[in-house]
Symmetry: D2
Subunit: 338 residues, 4 copies
């Protein structure tokens, strides 16, 4: 068993990490960190479990550590659910200690030698781990993208072969994407908020790095543009996207590409049966009905129409955050980067 830790284990993404790792077949939860005032206490006593899945009792007795590099130095892999500003330095220190970091934080996503990975889309970018080693980092940092970027990029992956240069996307993002306390009820109930800080900028750049080409030393950004309009809507979990992509092919071919898409690997524990699932029903996918497909790891696609337009959706704190990180770690392990 691989010993793993979670930096920031009590927040919305942190709790999803705990949920996904509590009974993991390869990884053993060894260290959970939280704020200074929680350190030293039982995890069960400090976490305010707010997910609608049962609290995994097996984890309750772990003693919470402070969020420091020192605290996780005995782990093989550390998952980071830290806010970007806190993550920056700590993740570097953890990696300097020879530990592998799989981070959901945005701090290092655009670093030239840090892979920004969606396991199914650009597994080869993990080669940047060697670049990090070469310049003297004992461990490594691997990042996963922003939640909306993951839904968009995974939905575009089956279409990569057609080529495209311009993507437009309007998002309808769930409340949980802002963390447990990120959105006040008075601000979102019976409402849409057409603004999510930094989100459109991330969607404009991250997909281009993920779909960029890796030449053994660095990543060249893919030559397409993403123009995003990001909106918060009154949905608990699940980001829904209306997408336009300039593909000039018959819809039948596009549909076939979605239907025939398969991940380039198999056998990873967190991997869903279908990473991308296509619907012919006219009114699908829908977040309440489809966010939990593939235990939250499937991106659902439907409403394919001329344009080319389609709808995509996925579970933002599983496929779009903790699950993406865990799947990356499984791939790293399988590829023997540990």
């Amino acid at each position: 068993m691989i010993n793993v830790g979670i930096l920031g284990a009590t927040g919305a993404v942190g709790q999803r990490f705990v949920q996904l790792l509590a009974d993991h077949p390869w990884f053993r939860l060894h260290t959970l960190t939280a704020s200074e005032r929680s350190a030293g206490k039982r995890y069960a006593d400090v976490v305010n479990w707010r997910l609608d899945v049962p609290f995994p009792e097996s984890v309750g007795d772990l003693t919470v550590s402070p969020t420091t590099a020192e605290a996780v130095k005995d782990c093989d892999i550390v998952f980071s659910a830290l806010p970007a500003d806190v993550a920056q330095g700590i993740e570097e220190d953890v990696a300097a200690n020879g530990v592998g970091v799989c981070s959901n934080a945005s701090s290092h996503r655009m670093d030239p030698d840090v892979p920004l990975v969606i396991a199914e889309v650009n597994p080869d970018h993990l080669g940047l781990i060697d670049v990090q080693h070469d310049r003297g980092r004992d461990g490594f940092i691997v990042t996963n993208p922003n939640c909306s970027t993951i839904m968009l990029t995974l939905a575009l992956e089956p279409l990569r072969t057609f080529g495209f240069s311009s993507v437009q996307v309007a998002t309808m993002q769930a409340i949980s994407g802002a963390g447990f306390n990120g959105v006040a009820a008075m601000d979102i109930y019976d409402n849409v908020v057409p603004f999510i800080r930094s989100e459109e900028e991330k969607m404009a750049t991250e997909p281009r790095k993920i779909m960029g080409s890796f030449d053994g030393s660095g990543v060249e950004m893919a030559p397409f543009s993403v123009s995003a309009c990001c909106n918060r809507v009154p949905v608990i979990d699940g980001h829904t996207l209306s997408v336009w992509v300039d593909i000039d092919r018959p819809l039948d071919e596009v549909r076939k590409a979605f239907l025939e898409y398969a991940a380039p690997f198999s056998g990873l524990p967190t991997q869903p049966a279908k990473s991308v699932e296509y619907f012919d029903q006219p009114d699908r996918p829908q977040p309440r009905l489809d966010r939990n497909r593939g235990r939250g790891m499937t991106v659902s696609v439907g409403r394919l129409r001329e344009g080319v337009r389609f709808t995509a959706l996925g579970h933002n704190t599983i496929r779009g955050a903790a699950g993406a990180s865990v799947l990356n770690a499984e791939l790293i392990y399988m590829k023997k980067y540990l």
Copy 2:
């Protein structure tokens, strides 16, 4: 005072008509129609008033008539809140009786000699009333567009001078747009439904007729395309739109166009101070906060960014339905078409 009637006065749009006309300075509510089983009863006794504004007591004593052309033959103007299939024949019969019909139904919107009018955008199209008279119709039919089309087209009107050929729009539409019973709570709560029947088709065609050129005998469709993705979201009132339009101008000029826009007329009772209101705040407009601007008749615009992208919103059953019809009627009256 002009005597007016409402066809279908008990539904979601019908009640909005009643709200707007109960104390109108020019129009007097003379006839309210509803289904056969309500006919002959007091309006107050048959309506299940479900708006969050008080029931206008002055209207309660009106005796409900059956929904027939005969019932409204003494009216000068009749507002139609009927479903499209029912509206088709009745509206023609009403107009044949010499009565003017201002209809929110979709049945006649694309008829060549029926004006499809947003009062501020294409008041000249009312000239088609004369075309209807010329071919022997004693009264007339004037229609207003689909709710989403109104928000989009009114938001585009200030930009018409720049020219554009391609519009993309993702809508986040309110529950009330489907009528009081159109959406089951189980289907929309904690959910987004990425499909509204016929909505995308209407948005693709109606704006082109509204912004088309009228030459005295007919309307030539404007030469731009609209590609829409229509979504239902858990909001009670107010449609929000993420819009892209291919205008290649500095944002400052676009912003100025929004700020300086003024309606081509003034003094109509239902007309808001600003038909289009522009926001510089980064997170506006929002439906709960802005749908009631201008007593529900203002289209709010904001989040202007490169692309050109922006957000637009308006109250779907006021600006997007009953209020649009009433404003059209006021314009018709002012222009002496009665």
Copy 3:
């Protein structure tokens, strides 16, 4: 394996029956009935699956039968998710054919020789099956109570030993309790509806039959009164109850009774680890966090205060409907009534 059928397998409760029975260790889904126009088609083709758990693919190929007694005559047990007016006659016909009916419908609940059973509360009332046999019915009808009654009565069961004569309860009931199309979004969003037809009457009578004494031939109603105020609130699943009961005991004893309560049997597949789970946290139970405890079969209790007041909640379409029926059937099978 016992062959089972579901009368009305496409509605909100019908789909829960399918979910619970698709992989049942003792029962095999043999017959699914629906309306005449669905008959003869594959279940997967006629059901509009609207639960947020995946559709059980194994059931999809079953051919739907019409809702008649004939259609289910080869089943050993038939679960009824029919509306009360339809259920009345069909259930009697099914039972006359020698089949056992476990019904969620209200039609026969108060029949003198039909047991109204919550498995953990009054398993002995199943003795009424013999009374039915004695008067010539080949099969039998066993009913489970109204959803709110189940939450209330199961929460009161641990306190039965203290004795009480008066119960007051305000319910906050979920949307799904009215079926998929029972509540329009416009009527419940941002709202509370303080009325649910017949609900308060059921809560006043059903708990008294359930907690009544069975003497081998009939049930004597328990001597307490229930005064209920039933409200619909904007919650998808899970009924929450504020309960007062006139028990004059120290809170410690009441708390202990909740904590120490155990079901009078064990080993039934649908039975949760705890039928009643007690919380000391001041803000629990909550429907979104606690409705799925015990796979939806646990009634959660908390906020115990002087009065005696407490909060109770449970999943209304699982514990309060389909799950209650299935647990009854398991008990019937274990007790060899088949």
Copy 4:
């Protein structure tokens, strides 16, 4: 015109005070206070207006003052929307300066010489102002009750003549009652929270002081008990209450008492036509439809049944907070306590 100020003018209750006072016929908004960092700036520039009524432009140019007694010393009346801990000392200092304080804060509600007033229920308690003067306070403090207490007590007032000794009430309280940021969306969406800190304690004591008897020097608590279960539900504005009261009278008499109730005074600007409005419809009152009756100042009552049980509701930040305070101030002015 009377000069008035608002302590804490930017929060949920503060904004309601601004809304109600912006165009008041007797009172002129003279001073708005907020936190230190807002002081010195235009109100329009510091307030994040989050009400769904338009921002009153006339107030926008007022310069915000810091929240100190000094800042409001030129006002005749000061309304307090401060949190209880902050309000305690400042309100005393303001009153010491000879200014009248009408406070929505809970700090002084139970002080022996501070009247806790619902204008229609216990106007005579304002006599405690003289008691305050007698013991040397130049100004005065008058408080209004907790929001839920107001709905309950005003609904009980028409029944006072019957006498009662025991009240039980389950509340379903709106999100806005906790302030703009008091409830995270993740905590209340699709949920009920059966706990609101200190709320049940306030409901147990405040109604007894309000309905207590004033003998010229102090208030004797009324001899009845209130047992409350307070719940938060996903409603924006409007508290709904299920109430039991031990009145042993025919329902007809109780109904008549509700119907015939009239406030003991008339002509106050904020006073609604009916302080208590009774509904015979079986499913009313409902918060979304009825909270704005009487411009938010009416308490609606309905669903009267044996028990005696009924439903009551009112707008929590208008009738239950800012409006209650303003109505008290109007009564104080009319009674010449200024």
